[in-house]
């Protein structure tokens, strides 16, 4: 009797071994996918920077080019660029998220079209035009600086207002209304429902908007130097005006790398802040 059991047992063992191997293979694949997910982009960006460095090293630089492309200049411009992006994103978050909440509350929902109209206007005007307009407006107001960080940040805020506003509204409105009804039905106050249920559930969508805004701001901040705000735009435009392609390409590649890096970091934050269970 026992001998007749051997073949199925052997098969069983083989099957289990195979299953274990498959599980292990799946685990390896998942781990590899995670590594690519987390390290792929930084490695790629490093490779791009390295290639840029080698390429610039390989060029015969004239005096103008050599003066423009120095590590010190590029670093300080990058810092300015990041500062502009961060300032404007923080300000736009502080403005657009509360306004998005305001525009979705039952009592104040009727203001939503006006608020969205405002955001639309900010984005519809071409960014260069918007900055120029602000420059002109601020010049007539002696109390406000018409050049430097301030007007540029104002321009960036206006420009990136819509994605965060819209995503806040969409994020809040996509929350299952029965989840809200359950919260309300158990005696949670409106404010508590907002804080404990609606906002946590809207976080992924709001953060997607923040990500968009950040990337938009990195791009638009390249125009900042025109209004005395500095940033990597300076290098791009010097290269353009002086017909120095090496300078132009260096500036452009650095802005692109910065945009991709910011997008990558924002993605990590998004992942981190998205509530578990979703």
């Amino acid at each position: 009797m026992s001998s007749t059991l051997t073949p199925p047992d052997a098969q069983e063992v083989a099957r289990r071994t195979q299953a274990r191997d498959e599980d292990a293979a799946l685990g390896r694949r998942a781990r590899r996918a995670r590594i690519v997910h987390y390290l792929g982009m930084p490695l790629f960006l490093l490779a791009v920077l390295l290639a840029l460095y080698l390429w610039v090293q390989g060029q015969e630089l004239d005096s103008i080019e050599a003066r423009t492309i120095t590590l010190g200049t590029l670093l300080s411009q990058t810092r300015q660029h990041i500062t502009l992006t961060l300032y404007s994103t923080v300000v736009v978050l502080l403005l657009a998220v509360p306004l998005g909440i305001f525009a979705t509350r039952p009592g104040t929902r009727r203001f939503a079209p006006a608020i969205i109209g405002l955001g639309n206007a900010g984005q519809a005007i071409p960014s260069l035009g918007l900055l120029a307009l602000l420059y002109y407006l601020f010049r007539t107001q002696p109390a406000l600086p018409s050049t430097g960080t301030f007007p540029v940040v104002v321009g960036l805020v206006a420009y990136s207002f819509l994605p965060i506003l819209r995503n806040t509204m969409v994020g809040l409105e996509q929350v299952d209304r029965f989840v809200l009804e359950a919260g309300k039905g158990m005696g949670m106050s409106q404010r508590r429902v907002l804080r404990r249920i609606e906002l946590p559930l809207a976080v992924p969508v709001i953060l997607a908007g923040v990500r968009t805004a950040l990337v938009l701001n990195v791009g638009t901040a390249a125009l900042a130097f025109l209004f005395g705000g500095g940033g990597l735009g300076q290098t791009i435009f010097s290269g353009f005006q002086l017909r120095r392609n090496v300078v132009l390409v260096t500036g452009a590649v650095l802005v692109a790398v910065l945009a991709l890096l910011v997008d990558y970091l924002a993605g990590l934050i998004e992942e981190k802040l998205t509530p578990k269970g979703l």
């Binding site: 029965f178 989840v179 039905g185 158990m186 005696g187 578990k276 269970g277």
Partner: protein, 412 residues
């Protein structure tokens, strides 16, 4: 809430159960939605006795859900009053009110970003219970609804099946031990098998908890199963009938109720009546396996019957025999004819008996006592006759009850 647990009021079989103390009272409750001509709920008045399940049932758009949601003021009434436990709650702080009322909805509405334990702890947290007490209560409740706390407490809602989620929904509603529970089609979105199980479990639970429950469904079968009383609502939440399931089935108040209960009413009524309550055909022709073949044949030929029921020495039915079966000599009697199928016991419902008949294609059910001894036969005509008699006598009974007590709450 435990001092009034009059078991009669919760019994399905209690005839014209006397309502106990009132827990929820709706007075002339009305809801008009802006921009709608007719009120969604028009002066609904109703008393829900303590410890009972009252089911609101009616076609879609009849205002049953609106009526339910006005009790915890998820929908604010346009006029009228809600009295809970002798307190007018129509104008008190709705959040305070809702913490005293369990609320279960069809879509469940678990918070997807919170673990099961935190979902269940929602109301205790709102009431400011300390951590230890909340945790103990959460574990206790998960246990009560049949989910092992150790396995499920730390899970997220999306990791659970629909039935499990609804159990969590019920546990969450019971968390702070509210005396009143509102349930809006709680088992509506669950597959039939799980639904049936959850219904049974919930009824068992209710037997222990004795909560006062308002329950909405569009399914008359669920209403009959779950309700101690059923409120059948017509458009505008007009109360077509408010009575026990038995009375609604036997004695529908009007054509609307009759239509709504549907052609299946008789079949549903069969689930409420037991075989022992009807008259059996007890003069059936029987024979014993130890009797002589020829004797049996002669007895069959002299009777009006076309077949006889063969019993064994213990008087348990074994075969159906016709004349040709008795002429044949080769086979032993115990293998002749057809096997005796469709055997039911007296406590089976008429519905069970009918199903047995259909399954056994017998046209007749054999009734035996607890030890399997033959008691009589029940055929389709008997069932139909039983229904007619029941209907007549109960109609008379209720008519008499109404005449003697004009304030009977049936008129509501």
């Amino acid at each position: 809430m435990s001092d009034v647990t009059n078991s009669d009021t919760t019994s399905h079989l209690g005839e014209a159960a006397e309502p106990g103390e009132t827990m929820i009272e709706l007075q002339e409750l009305t809801k008009r939605f802006p921009g709608q001509e007719a009120p969604a709920v028009d002066r609904l008045s109703l008393k829900i006795p303590k410890g009972e399940i009252v089911v609101f049932v009616g076609p879609s758009g009849c205002g049953k859900t609106t009526s339910l949601k006005m009790i915890n003021r998820i929908i604010e009434p346009s006029s009228g009053h809600i009295i809970i436990d002798n307190e007018d709650v129509t104008t008190i702080d709705p959040n305070q009110l809702r913490r005293r009322i369990g609320y279960v909805i069809q879509q469940i509405g678990l918070f997807p970003h919170m673990r099961i334990g935190d979902n269940v702890a929602t109301v205790p947290n709102l009431l400011g219970w300390d951590k230890e007490r909340t945790r103990e209560r959460v574990d206790e409740l998960l246990d009560v609804v049949g989910l092992d706390p150790r396995t499920y407490r730390e899970r997220f809602p999306r990791e659970l099946s629909g039935g499990q989620r609804q159990r969590v929904g019920v546990a969450r509603a019971l968390a702070a031990d509210p005396p009143v529970l509102l349930m809006d089609e709680p088992f509506g979105a669950i597959d039939p098998i799980t639904r049936n199980r959850l219904q049974n479990e919930f009824l068992r639970l209710q037997g222990e908890l004795q909560k006062t429950i308002a329950f909405v469904t569009h399914d008359i079968d669920e209403a009959i199963k779950m309700g101690d009383r059923i409120a059948i609502l017509q458009e505008g939440a007009k109360l077509a009938q408010f009575a026990t399931p038995e009375e609604i089935l036997t004695n529908p108040a009007n054509e609307f109720v009759q239509d709504f209960v549907g052609t299946g009413a008789t079949l549903k009524r069969l689930k409420l009546t037991r075989v022992r309550e009807v008259e059996l055909t007890d003069d059936a022709l029987t024979g014993r396996e130890d009797e002589d073949r020829e004797t049996l044949r002669r007895r069959l030929a002299e009777s009006d019957w076309t077949a006889m029921l063969l019993l064994d020495r213990e008087e348990r039915p074994i075969r159906w025999l016709r004349t040709p079966d008795l002429r044949q000599q080769q086979r032993p009697l115990t293998e002749a004819g057809l096997p005796a199928r469709a055997i039911v016991e007296p406590q089976a419902t008429l519905s069970d008996a009918l199903e047995e008949m259909l399954l056994g294609s017998a046209g007749v059910a054999i009734v035996t006592d607890g030890r399997g001894r033959f008691q009589g036969l029940l055929d389709v005509d008997d069932i139909i006759l039983a229904i007619q008699t029941m209907r007549d006598t109960e109609a008379e009974f209720y008519r008499a009850a109404k005449l003697s007590d004009p304030d009977d709450e049936v008129s509501a």
